[in-house]
Every structure is written in structure tokens, then in C-alpha cells.
Symmetry: C3
Subunit: 208 residues, 3 copies
């Protein structure tokens, strides 16, 4: 429906799909790296490239927003959605970069579990963003937004349990600090996903 | 005034009062738990229930927003207010959960003082939200928003002093980390209250 | 252009310039303090005064927003810009206060470098905010916003390198914690600058 109002020159929906595609790639690479348990320079570089790709798409969306008269939904929401999707890549990139900075080289089952939840949330975002093309998908979109909220709650619990393990077992304070931050950052990815869900819900509210 | 424009089917003002009511309960329970100095499983569960109640109300507000044509104020502000009030409960719940995760069992006068400031800020929010029913209350609302801002400044100072005490007296780094986080999270509750005040001020600005 | 629509009684542009002026002063004082390497009570007080001045200007902007019928750009954006500019001073003030709380008294080349980047970003904000007077400056404004984004990326790298140094060399966990927080807070100033750039971009988007 909104598709028809949409100018030929720039397709916001396609661009959002591409931007989410970067998040999907970031989530998959993160899972792979965590599974291997080592952050080599090559995969560090690959993650940075994904993040840069996402940046470029976000900027092209915002740039085209300036030049487009009729937009499929609120200009501000397009702006916010582009920025917040970008924040997901930024945060995953931050964790990988932090793991390298902290010289972390150990496979850790908690982090693997986080990587799975992150991947699930990003996939739900990908569906919700794709469905924005048609307001008839509203129920599906809301379902995916609720799924994201649920995953964020799950990640909260996971972080608490992981921190509890640290308190009980980790006697080296600097190791404690490193892992505490990594677990909390992993949970923050889910917090950002929840904000994305919030923006998407806002878009629906305004279209209602 | 806005009350009259408001459809019978769903009363946003009443729902906001209920949502704030959850924050009031969370603040009171937090004060009680901190006063006792122990987080037993029962009160941990009670806090989680309050947080879930708040969640449900927030969702019902957002859900009804989708179905309501005329709203008492901006749709987006209703959405944001519902989410941010929810964040207060989330954060208090986080602190209680963190205290449990960190196996903290000691009465601490600094935390008691924080609990008092949190309670005062939530009460000011409760008044401001209740007063949104009538734009004639604008001065009262602004006064409560300023009060919240003042309490946030006070909490800032309290956190600095509490951190200074840690630097001077706490030689166990892991204890240092735990308490540093708890003090900072307690102050974050006030930061969220300040954001709520900000949203309420925004609503007034638009009604002006 | 928008200047002409603007009521004589209150000049938002002048007030924003004054508010940014506080951030410029905060950035300069921070650089000076970090250069000296000691936070004496007098300069601590000076920083707090700047922060209070900024607060007052922010509040006068928001207060006048309530009383002004025609505004140079979106009411909500004026509100957000006033608050976010204030956040810059708040964060710099926080770092100085934290350095005092942590009894830090050592000149540190990393922090000096951060102070330089913070100053550059604030100067770019000052230009962008000043240019908001005339929509013909749109390209210049966007250029400054991009510069701010670039500086934020640079600060990210600087923080990672500074944290890496800590991991390699700092064996005292409490010193590790203090400096980790200071480096991360210094980078947060840049994050806030990026949010300001985001708000400014939003204003442009709506004027387009």
C-alpha cells in the first residue's frame, strides 16, 4: 500500500532490507567467531567491513531522505530506524573489538548462548523490517516485536546467571572485569534490538 | 479539558496512573528490602511480579493506542511515556536482581539514602502524571518535573560521595566493582526519572 | 530565512549559541585541567559553574518555548537540542568530578589526546548550531555533522588503544577500574556529540 506512494528513485524498503542484512551478517559472523573462540585479525577486519557497509547504507538512507518529498512513513522514524539498526552493528563490532583489546582467547559457553539469542533477535528484526512494506502485515510485525522483547528478557536472565558464575568462580579481578563487560555488552545488543522494536511499533502506531 | 475528548472505551490517564502505581510499589519495596539488608527469594519474586504488572500495563496502553482514534495527547508521547515509566521498574528490578547475583547481604546506609531519593522522585512522577489530566495543572506539573531534576542532581552527589568512600576504604577489588555498579545503577533510576520528566515537559510544550 | 519568522522577544539562535558557548568553555577547561594533571578545588568549582550556566540557558530555552507561538524549527527538536547540548557539559563535569573522587593526580597522554578530540567535536557543534540560522548553510552543517561522526570514530579507536595499554600494563585492579571508566566516559562525550549531530541532521531533514 505505502509501496505505491513511494518514488521510483530511491527505495527505502530495499535499503532498510540491505541495512538489516548487514546486521544479519554481523550476527552470523559473531556467532562464528565466538564458536571458534579466537578473534584473528582477518575476522576482526571482516566485522569492521560489515560495520562500515552498514554505516554507508544508513547514510545513504538519511541522505536520500533529504532529497525525497514523499516517504513511506514518518521522516523522523526513517531517520531513527536507520540510526538504530546501525547501532546493532556498532555494538557487535564493539564486543569483537573489546575481545581483541582484552586478549580474550577462550571458548565460553555463555557467550555462545548469547550469540544465538543475538542472531534470533536480528532475524526477527529482519522480518519485521521487511514486513513494513505492507500495513496488512501489522500483526506479524507486532508478533516479531514481541519476540524481540522476549529475547531481551531472556538475555537479561542469561547475563545475571553468567555474572553469578563470575562472582562464584572468578578470583582474578581483571578477568572478572573483562567478562562482566563482555556479558553486559552482549546483553546491550538485545537492548538495542528492543529499541528497534520500539521504533517499529511507533511506526505502526502512527499508521493506525 | 482533554479528558472530554477522551473515548470511554480506554482511559489512558487511569492506565498511566496504574503504571506509575507499579513504580510506586517498586520504589517502596526497594526501600523495604534495602532497609532489611537481605534479598530473600520471596521479595525477589515480589519485585519481579511488580515489574511484570508494569509491563502488562505498558503493553495494554500501547495496544490500545493502536485502536484509539482520538488520544488525550500526542500518540508518540503516550508511547514513550508508557515505555519510560516501565524503564523505572526495570531498573529497580535490575538492582535487586544484581544484589542477589552479587550475593550482597549487608545493610548499607548509602543505599538506604538512595532508596529514599528514588521513592521521592517516583512520588513526584506520580503527581505529575496524574496532573496531566488537566492542562490547568501545568505549573504544578512543571514544579514536580523540576523537583525530579533536583533529586537527580542530589543522587549524582550521593553517588560521588559513595564512590569516594569506596576508593578510600574498599581494598577488595571485586567488592569495589559490585558496590560501584550498585551505586551507579541506583543513580541511573534517577536518570530515568529525569527522562520521564523530560517527556512530560515535552507533552506540556506541545499542548501550549 | 527562518530568522525573520522569529519573534523579537526571545532569540532561540542566540540562546543556543550561548548554550554551546558553555560546552566550548567546558571543553577548554577540561583540556587545561588534563594538561595540568591536577583537579584542584578551584577548577572543580569553575567546571561546576559552567555546567550550571549551561543548565540555566537550557531551562530558559525550554521555558520560552512554552511561551512562544512561532519557533524557528520544530518545538520538540528545540527541546531535545537544548537538553542534549546540556548533556555534553554534564558528561565533562562528570569526568572531572570522577577524577576528583578517584583521587587522580597523574598527567596522562591518552587523556590529553581525548581532551583535544572533545574540543574539536564541540567546536564543530558550535559551527553547526550557529549555521542553523540559515538553511542555505545546510551543506556546511552536514559537513560539520560528518566531522563530529568522524571524531567519534576516532575516539572509539583511542579508547580501545588506551584500554589495551591498561590490560597490558596496569596490574592494580582498582587503578584499572578507575582509568577504564575515565577513558570510557571521555569517549561517551563524543557519543553525546554524535547524538547532537543526529538531532541537527533531523532538523535539516524536516526543513527539507
Amino acid at each position: 500500500m505505502f509501496d505505491k506512494l513511494f518514488p521510483k528513485e530511491f527505495n527505502f524498503f530495499e535499503s532498510f532490507d540491505k541495512e538489516v542484512g548487514c546486521a544479519v551478517r554481523a550476527g552470523a559472523l559473531f556467532k562464528e567467531l565466538v564458536g571458534k573462540g579466537t578473534i584473528d585479525d582477518e575476522s576482526r577486519e571482516k566485522m569492521r567491513d560489515i560495520e562500515h557497509d552498514g554505516d554507508k547504507i544508513a547514510y545513504s538512507i538519511i541522505d536520500n531522505l533529504n532529497k525525497t518529498f514523499i516517504t513511506p512513513f514518518d521522516r523522523e522514524d526513517i531517520h531513527t530506524l536507520a540510526k538504530k539498526l546501525d547501532d546493532i552493528n556498532d555494538m557487535i563490532n564493539t564486543i569483537v573489538s573489546r575481545m581483541k583489546v582484552y586478549r580474550i582467547k577462550i571458548v565460553n559457553k555463555n557467550l555462545i548462548e548469547f550469540a544465538n539469542v543475538i542472531e534470533d533477535a536480528i532475524n526477527a528484526i529482519a522480518c519485521a523490517v521487511h514486513d513494513l512494506r505492507n500495513f496488512k502485515n501489522a500483526n506479524n510485525i507486532l508478533k516479531n516485536c514481541m519476540e524481540i522483547n522476549k529475547l531481551e528478557g531472556k538475555a537479561d536472565t542469561m547475563r545475571d546467571e553468567a555474572l553469578g558464575e563470575l562472582v562464584d568462580n572468578e578470583k582474578d579481578p581483571i578477568e572478572f572485569i573483562k567478562w562482566k563487560e563482555i556479558y553486559q555488552d552482549a546483553e546491550t545488543v538485545l537492548d538495542i534490538c528492543k529499541v528497534v522494536a520500539h521504533v517499529i511499533e511507533s511506526i505502526l502506531v502512527k499508521q493506525a
